[in-house]
Amino acid sequence: MGYMTINNRKVAFTDEKNVLSVIRKSGIDLPTFCYHSELSTYGACRMCVVEDERGKVFASCSEVPRDGMVIYTNTPRLQHHRKMIIELLLASHCRDCTTCHTNGTCTLQKLANQLGVSFVRFENNKPQVPIDESSDCIVIDSNKCILCGDCVRTCDEVQGVGILDFAFRGSNMKVMPAFNRIMADTDCVGCGQCRTVCPTGAITIKQNISPIWQHISEKDTRVVVQIAPAVRVAVGDKFGVPKGENSLGKLAAALRMMGFDEIYDTNFGADLTVMEESAELVERLEKGENLPLFTSCCPGWVKFCETRYPELKKHISTCRSPQQMFGAVLKEDARVNPHDGKKTVVVSIMPCTAKKAEIHRPEHFTDGEQHVDYVLTTTEVTRMIQEAGIDLSTLEPEALDMPFGIASGAAAIFGVTGGVTEAVLRRLVNDDSQQALQEISFTGVRGTDGLKEAVVTLGDREVKIAVVNGLANAGKLMDQIQSGEVYYDFVEVMACRRGCIAGGGQPLPIGPRTKKARVEGIYRVDSMAQIKLSNENPIVTTLYDGLLKGKEHKLLHNHTDAE
């Protein structure tokens, strides 16, 4: 609590952790590379430097606000220092902006422009290193890294995975996995969270755009696309649609214009997941086996559990994820129905980089066949829309295709943490009255806390539930579960903090306001939905009676070798 003087204006502060936050609150946007409110303060880029009344220069991100402080944020000296820092960064940087994946969204590029850096007086003599494209999910181009450490801290502090770290020191320092291994040889879970914080093009999404244009152009190919819950509240970002607004209809229109043949909603897959997973929970509760049941819809989490807690793997639900259930249904449909003899290519549009790896997992195959052929992230689909010259914001929303274009509100909320649990609970309580829905939403499953707990009475049994997001939080919970310190019946895990709305494939930047807007957007989709419960989705019922009959297990569950 107190007041400080920023550029001769008096500014009040309350519980801001650092001077930078106070400055930003006062409406001045100081440039930063290494500060993220959810990460530890690193203080390395020195862009946030300010000056006090005695001319002392210090980094505002790492100074505690004190009453009576007098600071200046934009003196000629500071301008000079910031420019020079950018100049020095650019000097050791591959500056191929025009062909860079982050062209236009790059913070380095933006700040160089914003601060008017118009020359680089030093030669780039940094040895170039090969780009690592080995991962299905992300691409690492160290030549573009400015060593801000954001990815390192994200992977370690938020995700608890710790794949990327600094190696060597001084001007030889680099960010890399242990022993400079390629990403494919690490336990990277593919969540792409590192990419969401990277201020440059050093970590980008593995691109799958070109084969899709190719398939669209093929006359004998039917390109079917499914759109994940969290995509609709983010895809409008780059087109000036207000943050968090549901752009599903506009996206459908754009995809049609681009030549996609059939457009469906992954939420439908999510409805199937709710059906299967709630059945599985009931069964395990009855048998008292392999409890807690862990959700399986987040591939980042699944891989984390497999690599870090192999002993707990049996707790993971055998249900395929919504994308995979839907993929299996689409491929089965393509097998059963003629579709004019066309070859079917299934594309999913996901907020998620880990989903790009999920489609290649053999246990997700049915009779050796892969279901989803390509995963496009929201960011890639945005690019494709731009490539096609379409302005999404001006399009009239269009409906999705049938028969898989209807989904429940319960499915929509899969896009945020707690959503899966809430959907399963709705199914188990099986009551779509306003009051019942509200009761469930008040159990504690909603909200952005890293770990949420709820106790629900189902029949004559109390069911203990934990909902975690962020893998570091998941890790902590797993340790406690393993040590017997805590007990749960059902555990939902989303690898990304706040769930898929902040997934590794989402359009950047994902600041606190964007996150909030997207969460609200998701719940709005639910509240606007006609159908609230997955089991009330008529197409779900139809499907169980038709295409899926007798094949539920085969198509909707994973098959490991043991089975």
């Binding site: 370690d156 995975v161 710790g162 794949i163 990327l164 770290d165 600094f166 190696a167 060597f168 020191r169 890399m176 996995p177 242990a178 022993f179 690490t186």
Partner: protein, 159 residues
């Protein structure tokens, strides 16, 4: 994969220091003393035993100059290039050793694994500058010619 004996030794060292991240550096120092280098496999092993991410262990090991993933020569020669030694002309000594041993800034160990040549900044024997050490034994007031002689002597001891 290294011989099991390596892992046993590493385990023994780990037990001496205790399972904690704070033991990481002392443990790998002892391993390096034992084998004259830090076998990468053992770094991974130690990381696992201590419950530290491998990338973190690698990042620590590469930060400090003393750790080497490559086996070092039988004689580790460290030429001091600290201030006192530098102003008393340590550079020609280093250059002489480079040419004498066929080594360079980027190649520190001779192919016969006899010599490893490194520089250090100050051995704390500045009064005797310029100095070098061979396996921690200090050689004071060196000259390029004395360095040549020293190498011949060491080589002679091998024949």
């Amino acid at each position: 994969m290294l011989d099991q004996a390596y892992y046993d030794k590493a385990q023994e060292i780990i037990e001496q220091h205790g399972v904690a991240q704070a033991s990481l550096i002392p443990i790998i120092q002892d391993i390096q003393t034992e084998y004259r280098y830090l076998p990468p496999e053992l770094l991974s092993f130690v990381a696992k035993q201590l419950g530290i991410n491998e990338a973190k262990a690698y990042s620590v090991a590469t930060f400090y100059e003393n750790f080497s993933f490559e086996p070092k020569g039988k004689y580790i020669i460290k030429v001091c290039d600290g201030t006192a030694c530098h102003v008393r002309r340590s550079t020609p000594i280093l250059e002489r050793l480079y040419s004498e041993l066929g080594l360079s800034k980027n190649k520190a160990t001779t192919d016969d694994m006899l010599f490893t040549l490194e520089t250090v900044s100050c051995l704390g024997a500045c009064g005797l500058a310029p100095v070098l050490t061979v396996n921690d034994k200090v050689y004071p007031s060196m000259t390029p010619d004395a360095a040549t002689e020293l190498i011949q002597e060491l080589r002679g001891g091998e024949a």
